[in-house]
């Protein structure tokens, strides 16, 4: 770490060694997420190379923020993981499977694994849920709910689409979940202690 904060050939050598480690971590992480991306081979390796390079830039820019709460390598690897994660989100953004704002509400029960053969048991539940989405959520919360829950858009992809950040989108979905649970609880479908009526 001291070498990274220094100058000259010693720093260059430390940067090269760190990049080698970051690339190893990024490659493995990209491979772990590869099936989600439906990409492999050179394209996947390219994700890893870009992630390692961007992680190295982030680490050198933020090295003064390292507080010694963990090993330096763990702190550094976090940036490689984050960069792979961001590039996965970007990939989905460039290759959307479903339009972000498409609204096919008939497929919502299947998103949670409800059996179409037992529709009589859950039809009313989803009618109440649909009304709550329209009446309880703010327009932004509704937009986030539709994209992530109904259309299965990855949260990080939505972050890019809305030019937002992960924390803000998560918070919006968190508040939407809380409101929808309260609506279903008020109608007796779920209780506040998380047990359901049936």
């Amino acid at each position: 770490m001291q070498a990274l904060a220094g100058t000259g050939p010693r720093r260059d050598d430390a940067l090269a060694r760190l990049h080698e480690r970051l690339l190893r971590i990024a490659r493995r992480e990209a491979a772990r997420r590869g099936p989600l991306l439906s990409i492999s081979g050179p394209e996947l390796d390219d994700v890893a190379y870009q992630a390692a390079a961007d992680a190295l830039l982030a680490i050198t820019a933020k090295i003064g923020q390292f507080r010694g709460e963990s090993r330096f390598t763990t702190w550094a690897y976090k940036f490689a993981i984050f960069e792979v994660s961001a590039k996965v989100g970007r990939h989905f953004w460039r290759h959307p499977v479903v339009p972000l704002a498409a609204e096919d509400w008939d497929r919502l029960p299947a998103r949670f694994g409800f059996d179409p053969a037992h529709q009589a048991e859950w039809r009313d539940l989803f009618a109440v849920l649909g009304r709550a989405v329209d009446t309880e959520l703010t327009p932004r919360q509704r937009e986030v709910f539709v994209a992530i829950v109904l259309n299965g858009v990855p949260l990080d992809t939505l972050v890019l689409s809305l030019a937002s950040n992960r924390n803000a989108i998560y918070k919006m979905l968190f508040d939407a979940r809380r409101k929808l649970r309260a609506a279903l609880a008020a109608d007796g479908y779920l209780s506040d202690d998380s047990s359901r009526r049936l």
Partner: protein, 73 residues
């Protein structure tokens, strides 16, 4: 898991949940504690709650934990 329990689980929110920003900030510390079998969840209940509920942060945690465990071998 049937539909009812999946919906129930999705709509359940934990008030201790710290959100993505704080979880990401401390992820390296949390992952190291988990890797050595220390009581990460007791020490950081808000991060544990978040990682259970947030898919992207949970994925990042799994990736970092794998990297830390690999490094230790």
């Amino acid at each position: 898991m049937n539909g009812w329990s999946a919906l129930d689980r999705f709509l359940r929110t934990d008030p201790r949940d710290v959100g993505c920003a704080e979880a990401m900030q401390m992820l390296h510390v949390y992952a190291e504690l988990v890797a050595v079998g220390a009581s990460a969840e007791q020490r950081y209940p808000g991060i544990a709650a978040h990682l259970r509920a947030c898919g992207p942060c949970g994925e990042d945690f799994e990736g970092l934990l794998a990297a830390v465990c690999d490094e230790a071998q």
